[in-house]
Amino acid sequence: MSDHNAAVTRPARRKSLFIPRSISLTCGLIVLAIVVVVALFPGIFTHYDPTLTDPMSMLKAPSAAHWFGTDNYGRDIFARVIYGTRIDILIGVGCVIVPFIFGSLMGLFAGYYGGKVDAVIMRILDVFMAFPFLVMVIAIVAILGSGIRNMLIAMWVVGWKEYARLVRSEVLVARQSEYVQAAKTMGYSELRVILRHIMPNVISSAIIYGASDIVMCMGTAASLSYLGIGVKPPTPEWGAIINEGKAFIQTAWWITVIPGAVLAFVGWGFSMLGDGLSDLLRADGQ
């Protein structure tokens, strides 16, 4: 019986998530925390109104009064960036959550059933793969009309394909494994086998991709706003702020550069989060 006391002293569960396991995960969580607090309580960071115009202080350079300067309507850029956080995060998360769920389910079914189900799902996916992402989004927004809601719908329609591909490839491996065979011999329904036994083992790469996809969606949203088909003015959204500043890039660089830097910083944070999560989730499966 020597074999079965050997492992008794090993820890049964993994340690808490809050003990920093890696630098990237810690960085990611810090950025996420900042972003969440700013998005929830923008009022405590600035007393300026993000949409209030002030003709007396147009195109002011960054100073003690206006940390990020002001734009051509005299609006405080810092306040606009702070209030824009909520919208950008909602867009980023909202763009990812629906494709994540739908795409993963499609990947699960395609990979598990194979054959005709797989062929149909993958051919539909090929159609979406054939179009460049941004071109497809712009086309859909052009049809539906601009605005946050239509932008989200457009991103949902084109965003699921990566999740389906990722999950499907993992399911193809997992469905051959003996624990899935075992679950079938237990007499569980196919849906139970797919969702309870396969899904938890294949979803980690989709979660990791999702964390970095939030960044890409925020970038896409900013691009759409920049192109003038995303968020309508005067709503403070980072891409829209950058877009408004482009006419003044030579005289008032801060309108474009500073919100751009904020976008890049948050993007870096989510990338770190995805990186850290991948270490955590992959190690957990061992």
């Binding site: 074999d3 079965h4 049964a12 003996e178 079938k184 036994h197």
Partner: protein, 335 residues
């Protein structure tokens, strides 16, 4: 006595990939026949050892019995009902009667479920007991396989190979099955652990009056655990009988060669001894030899063997599919 599990003419065939180039060349659609018209009976309380080389269809047979592969022909009668004819929900309900222990304990446990979650899911889904009895039942099952309750809340990654195989056995036993199909359950384990797991099988078999289909390529293991033995070659059963009878008086040349080929621990190696060794490679199951499928490698093969497939006497207690079975064993008593 009626057989608990009655397998009749069971054939498992896989369609091979048929490419467009094959269609253009007008090639025939090929099939890989993994299990070919197998008849087997499992009596209650028996431990049937199924032996054969790798690739002979042992695992395919086990998976067909479990319903993981759909047999192309034949019947699998378990307790009076043909499993191949059951509808989806009927089949799922009948799964509790026959359970499987897989070969690789490292891949046969879901890495994201604790032992308790795994056992609880089974008990709840098959309504084995009331909600309040579940913790007690889980404790009993774990103790039965030599584990304790403290192991219940762990993930498979914190167990060793032997412990994992115990968990796999616990998972199979939780549904009170009548039959356990064990597909090479010890071949992935260290030799020192193998004996423990084998003894556990023997002990559980006695205690719970289980019927076991034990698949292995290791003859020592099979001899130790089995009451009956079936020898499989290229999808067919070549010889079937009581274990000791088969090991002492093998009738089929293939069985004899298989026994000769196994290294023995109890006799010192004699370099002068002429051993019959098997020649050639295992023929492809896609392209079976004519007549007796063992004839290209058989030392006693004649023209008859190449032409006619030997028949299997289904009623005899010691059956052998050979035109020239070895009736008198000159080495009688040695083995």
């Amino acid at each position: 006595m009626d057989a608990l599990l009655h397998i009749e003419d069971l054939t498992v065939a896989f369609d091979l990939k048929y490419r467009i180039t094959d269609a253009l060349a007008r090639r025939e659609r090929k099939k890989l026949i993994a299990v070919d018209e197998v008849d087997l009976d499992l009596m209650p309380g028996d431990t049937l050892g199924l032996v054969g080389e790798s690739g002979c269809g042992k695992t395919s047979l086990a998976r067909a019995i479990m319903g993981l592969y759909r047999p192309s022909e034949g019947r699998i009668v378990l307790g009076g009902t043909d499993r191949t004819k059951l509808s989806g929900s009927e089949f799922r309900r009948s799964c509790g009667d026959i359970q499987m222990v897989f070969q690789d304990p490292y891949s046969s446990l879901n890495p994201r479920m604790t032992v308790r979650q795994m056992l609880k899911e089974e008990l709840v889904k098959h309504r084995m007991c009331g909600k309040s009895e579940i913790p007690g039942r889980i404790r009993d099952i774990l103790e039965m396989v030599g584990l304790s309750e403290e192991h219940a809340d762990r993930y498979p990654s914190s167990f060793s190979g032997g412990q994992r195989q115990r968990i796999c056995i616990a998972r199979a036993l939780a549904l009170n099955p009548k039959i356990i199909v064990a597909d090479e359950p010890v071949s992935a384990l260290d030799v020192s652990i193998q004996a423990q797991i084998l003894n556990l099988f023997v002990e559980l078999q006695k205690k719970l009056n289980l019927t076991i289909l034990f698949i292995s390529h290791d003859l020592q293991v099979v001899r130790y655990i089995s009451s009956h033995v079936a020898v499989m070659y290229l999808g067919r059963i070549m010889e079937y009988g009581e274990a000791e009878e088969i090991f002492r008086h093998p009738r089929h040349p293939y069985t004899r060669i298989l026994l000769e080929a196994a290294p023995r621990m109890d006799v010192p190696v004699n370099p002068d001894e002429v051993r019959e060794i098997i020649h050639g490679e295992l023929p492809s199951p896609m392209n079976l030899p004519t007549g007796c499928r063992f004839h290209p490698r058989c030392p006693c093969a004649t023209e008859l063997c190449a032409k006619e497939e030997p028949l299997f006497d289904r009623s005899a207690s010691h059956r052998c599919a050979c035109h020239y079975p070895i009736m008198e064993d000159p080495d009688d008593g040695q083995r």
